[in-house]
């Protein structure tokens, strides 16, 4: 007779729903939507992976400017603002976000839960959904960002608040952080 594997599919679906809910949280609250990216006057959001010799493994925040030796980043969270200067030779890798990745949360939720109604066929439809969602969510993230595999460090300035270079009359520490566009999910 047929098996239903309902409990297994239920558990996997539950885990998937949790993953979907977590992944639906925004990458950064300063990023614009894709439809507004061209109007953005601030720098893009950057995640810098630093070499082991660095004090911290990772720096994230708004990309302010890039020069021959350093990257300037402002990290603002809960009212606290950090102005960080990272030496280029300490950078291991990066991902710079041009706009907020719009993960298809409702589609993901639907595709996580619908196999529950598929009975035995859920054994096939659930893994197919999982892999396809993985590919699509990866695409969504990939389209919203560039990594060091795609562009060299020297091209990062395109995504900075000051692509022309850091203004000589300004003090980095006095710059304000980009405002949050929405509440972080």
């Amino acid at each position: 007779m047929l098996l239903i594997m309902k409990s297994v599919i239920s558990k996997l679906s539950f885990v998937l729903v949790l993953v979907v809910l977590f992944s639906s949280c925004s990458t950064s609250d300063i990023l614009p939507k894709s439809s507004e990216a061209h109007q953005n006057l601030y720098g893009s959001y950057i995640e810098l992976d630093l070499k082991r010799s660095s004090k911290v493994p990772k720096v994230v925040g708004e990309l302010i400017s890039v020069n021959d030796s350093s990257i300037f980043i402002i990290h603002g969270e809960d009212g606290e603002v950090d102005h960080v200067e990272v030496m280029l030779d300490q950078v291991q890798g990066f991902r710079v976000y041009l706009f907020e990745p719009q993960y298809p949360v409702w589609s993901n939720l639907a595709l996580s839960l619908l196999p529950l109604s598929h009975g035995i066929v859920g054994v096939v439809s659930l893994p197919v959904n999982v892999v396809t969602m993985g590919v699509v969510n990866g695409q969504v993230k990939d389209r919203a960002s560039h990594t060091d595999y795609e562009i060299p460090l020297s091209e990062l300035y395109h995504f900075a608040r000051f692509p022309q270079g850091f203004p000589p009359n300004l003090k980095f520490e006095e710059l304000k952080a980009a405002p949050a566009r929405k509440k972080k999910g």
């Binding site: 007779m1 047929l2 098996l3 239903i4 594997m5 309902k6 409990s7 894709s34 439809s35 990216a37 061209h38 109007q39 006057l41 601030y42 041009l98 706009f99 719009q102 298809p104 409702w106 589609s107 993901n108 639907a110 595709l111 619908l114 196999p115 109604s117 598929h118 009975g119 035995i120 066929v121 054994v123 096939v124 439809s125 893994p127 197919v128 959904n129 892999v131 396809t132 969602m133 590919v135 699509v136 969510n137 695409q139 969504v140 990939d142 389209r143 560039h146 300035y157 395109h158 608040r161 000051f162 692509p163 022309q164 203004p167 000589p168 009359n169 300004l170 710059l175 304000k176 980009a178």
Partner: protein
Amino acid sequence: MKNYVLLWGLGLLILSASACKELEYKWHYRDVQDAVHKTQDISTESILKAHLKNGEVYFFPGAWWVDTNSRSVQGMAYHYDANRDFLDSAERSLPIASVSLFEVNKELNISSGHQMLAPLTVVNIGLSFVCLANPKACFGSCPTFYSLEDQGLFSARAEGFSNAICPSLEYADIDDLKISEYSDSLFTLVMKNEAQETHVLRSVQLLALAQNEGECIYQSRKGDFYATKGLWLPRNNELLAAADGQEYFSDADAENLASKEELILEFDIDASQEDLGLVLDFRQTLMTTYFIYSALSYMGDEVADIIAKFENSGDLYETMDQGLKSELGELEVYLWNEIAQRWDLQGSFYETGPIAINRQILDLAHPPKGPLKLKLVMNRGLWRIDRAAICSIQRKLEPQALKPIAVRKSGIESAQAKDELNDPQLQLVSMPGDYFELDFILDPNQEYALFLKAEGYYLEWMRKEWLADKDLWKLRQMFKQPALYLKREAEAYKVYEQNMEEVFWSSQVPAEPLTLKP
């Protein structure tokens, strides 16, 4: 299966390709003329940002142009400081010399993740509707048994008492676990209830048969065991020459579900061999499942009354045999008699259930020396055959029946469950989701072939959706006029067969996670 994976992989590739990254949406220029000329091909209206050396920026959201006489950029612009605080907005004539860098932007037009997932979502919703409309096709049943190493839904080694759908049909079912040459002291059997039904188990025993080197042990339909030697495979049918899960099966007849088909198998047998048997690896398609669920749904809200009436009105087995089974028949085996020039019936195989593959032996009448020709006669669309082989029967064996020495329910030892399985007066009741491990002790100095003997019955849970299908007239036709029923139900069954069986069986291969590799 390969086709499904290839199609799916192709779909993912197309999906990936259709989601190619839009890299170019902003360009930077030191010279404003470059900003004008090199961005002329932008289809949508471009936006200009003029970055000043002091960090301020002028944002031209609409039309802008360069006045070469005044060496300025003109248009409506918003002015922001280095912190991007708004300063003012006006029609501007911004001197080019004051600008450090020009940035031209275009609006991004990106398809959403929802759009990319839409086809898959539609397929999923369609599948949900199919399952809601016909739950019999999607939600199944049966007590199932695994070894500890088995992983994946379709690695079940046995289905217990598949015919025993009510108490009076309780019987002991013997299945080949297809574990030969087992020589450890402990064997653990996993028993699961993965269906929406209640299992009532009288006993579960391990039948161990001491095995000599070079011998194989098979069970007959009657539950006799034979030690055999040699294995001859059909010369005219490669598909049935290996127990590899690549099965022969056919589609049901669209006009009459009781149509029969024949399969001729030829074997080159060593002339010195005498007592020969046919070993068949087989199982059913989902046709029987369809009929069982159809019968339950025809009963609708009277299911309990009708089954109780059946139980009290005599031999239910006989009633069932006179119904659909009399038309569908068994998997009959004929041997070609060269002298008499006719097919002689040797016997038949029958075991209900589409999950676990049954392996049974049928003793053949002594054939003439030389090539051997067999004919399998079976109902179209009812059987799946993995392997057919001829072996030489050496002797009959008596199995050693072993009771479990320990039973764990969901990993926790249960003396009660053990007692219920080992005491013939008691019964173990297993509910959906229950998971038992049964330990058996064997002599480590002996190699065994292992079989399962499970006795009991199960109660299929009624589904709310089935109640709507109540049709007592069809139920009566099913039992009293099975030939007519099988003709009239053919059309509905073909829809079920095409929609569900294909998907169901295509999923049997990957006990391992699905991969894009074909």
